[in-house]
């Protein structure tokens, strides 16, 4: 499988302040690729560099085989970008916003496409309300629709689910999965560690540096399982790897002893693991 995005030794600084440090990563075509990092990690900056909205200091970026700065005009037809802020016209309706940005490109049968995208993003019922009356989560949805109107091959989503209520958030991820099934590559940034599990591959970014790239399953495998049990009024703790076979091995050591009053098994979740990676390299 080829890569939709390839970044090599990317550096970006504002004055003396270095925001991205030697970033290298590959985004497989058709995958949901998560960029996870705390606020200020450089996620927005990295995304802006990939959509060609930012000049970089050094390094190479290739999006769909093209340089986003030099070939920005060809790329604009193929990439979608959902900025971190809604970036909509409050006085226009959802429908008007989508068709306004859609008009930037030659889309055959734009009106039909707008209706299709409204339906896909479940906005049909409120299509004609001005978006200034929408909740933050709904505005993000309109923003997503604007980014999808020209059926891009790859879409960059900058914190699409931040400050979105749990129900809308879950629906958003269902939409991303559906897009991904249609073959669209999805690059999504988030500061919410628990969203890592929903991605095919994740990159952890902190202070402009890539700390780790892996699949969520492999990240989970890095975690530990704690077994706590009470025997004769005393608490004992065993630590095993996350996989089931090593857990079973540890359990055998305890045996089925009638004196064991209580067993607790605690597995690292993805949030803990990611936080451990972020914190380990701190300071």
């Amino acid at each position: 499988m080829s890569n939709s995005v390839q970044i090599r030794s990317l550096n970006k600084s504002y004055g003396k302040f270095s925001v991205l440090k030697d970033v290298t990563l590959e985004v497989p075509e058709g995958s949901i690729f998560g960029l996870i990092g705390p606020n200020g990690a450089g996620k927005t900056t990295l995304i802006k560099a990939m959509v060609g909205a930012l000049k970089i200091n050094s390094g190479e970026i290739s999006v769909l085989g093209k340089d986003p700065l030099k070939n920005s005009w060809e790329l604009r037809r193929q990439i979608g970008y959902m900025p971190q802020s809604p970036s909509l016209y409050g006085d226009l309706s959802a429908k008007q916003n989508i068709s306004f940005f859609g008009k930037a490109q030659k889309i055959t049968n734009l009106e039909k496409e707008v209706d299709k995208i409204l339906e896909f993003t479940e906005l049909t019922g409120r299509a004609n309300d001005p978006v200034r009356n929408f909740s933050g989560g709904m505005q993000k949805r309109v923003s997503l629709a604007c980014a999808l109107i020209h059926s891009p091959r790859i879409i960059f989503l900058d914190e699409p689910t931040a400050a979105v209520d749990p129900h809308l958030k879950q629906r958003s991820w269902e939409l991303f999965k559906e897009l991904s099934r249609k073959g669209v590559t999805i690059f999504v940034s988030t500061h919410l560690m628990d969203e890592a599990l929903l991605c095919d591959k994740i990159t952890i970014l902190r202070q402009g540096q890539v700390l780790a790239v892996d699949t969520p399953q492999n990240f989970l495998a890095r975690g530990k399982t704690r077994i706590r049990y009470e025997k004769n009024g005393q608490t004992h703790e065993l630590i095993s790897g996350s996989d089931t076979s090593s857990l079973a091995k540890e359990m055998q050591k305890i045996g089925l002893d009638a004196n064991i009053a209580k067993i607790e098994i605690e597995q690292d979740n993805i949030e803990n693991i990611v936080l451990q990676i972020v914190n380990r390299t701190e300071g």
Binding site: G52, A53, L69, L88, Y89, F100, F101, H150
Partner: protein, 260 residues
């Protein structure tokens, strides 16, 4: 060009929908000119009673009409600049400018779109201001003069729109527009012959005055108020105003930040 009209239509719909904004940009100039009328009436010298058997003495009168039209032009200039700059800064801070450019609109389309969007507003402003000034101050201009007057105020408004777009490049939020008012707009009141004749200015100030587009608009308006004028006196000033518009168009499109 099609893109420019799409953006222009959006700007117009935004202007139409924002009643406060419309009221400010249309009613404010009318009120200011009315206040000027009151001011000029108050400071005009009382008529001298005619003494029987003597010819009435010609006295140097304060001529309000000399000021009112250039001041009207200034008001349109000022408002178009500020309002357009603020609207564009809003596009920047809300991220819609970035989104337009990444969606595939070109910078030149954005600027032309704004100019088209303001075209209607500037036309209305120019018409209203001239109508009120002519009515309140009893100007007795031939139709031709009124048409040229309209043309110059309107062209000045377009220059102001371009200037506003250009200045918006240097503002990160709306508040940043205001420092440019004392920097660019207010000096033009003093340096372009609106209040003080330029030949009474110190040389340096006189020369600095040539930088402001309002000077050329004022030149035209002053010429128009003479009993007789020739088109040859007008066109160089029109040409310079036009060049200002074109120059600022290019300046604005080259500085409009697409890439940080």
């Amino acid at each position: 060009m099609k893109h420019a009209f799409i953006i222009g239509a959006r700007v117009i719909s935004q202007l139409k929908g924002d009643k406060r904004f419309l009221a400010l940009s249309l009613i404010a100039p009318l009120i200011i000119i009315y206040l000027l009328k009151i001011l000029f009436d108050a400071i005009a010298p009382p008529p001298i009673p005619a003494i029987p058997g003597m010819m009435p003495m010609p006295i140097p009168t304060f001529s309000a009409s000399k000021f009112i039209l250039p001041v009207s032009a200034f008001i349109v200039h000022f408002l178009s600049f500020v309002l357009c700059a603020i609207l564009l800064v809003q596009e920047r801070t809300r991220g819609t400018l970035d989104r337009m450019l990444i969606s595939g609109f070109r910078k030149i389309s954005v600027i032309s779109g704004y100019t088209i969007g303001y075209f209607g507003l500037a036309t209305l402003q120019a018409l209203l201001v001239i109508t009120e000034a002519v009515y309140l101050f009893d100007f007795d201009f031939p139709f031709k003069t009124i048409c040229i007057l309209f043309l110059v105020i309107w062209l000045l408004a377009i220059v102001s729109v371009m200037l506003g777009i250009f200045i918006s490049t240097f503002a990160r939020h709306e508040g940043h527009v205001f420092p440019f008012i004392p920097l660019i707009i207010l000096p033009s009141v003093f340096l372009t012959g609106i209040l003080v004749d330029t030949d009474k200015l110190p040389v340096a100030a006189d020369l600095a005055g040539y930088l402001f587009p309002l000077r050329y608009a004022n030149n035209i308006i002053v010429t128009l108020q003479q009993n007789e004028y020739h088109f040859s006196d007008l066109w160089p000033n029109f040409l310079i105003l036009f060049l200002y518009a074109v120059g600022l168009l290019f300046l604005a499109s080259s500085t409009m930040k697409e890439k940080e």
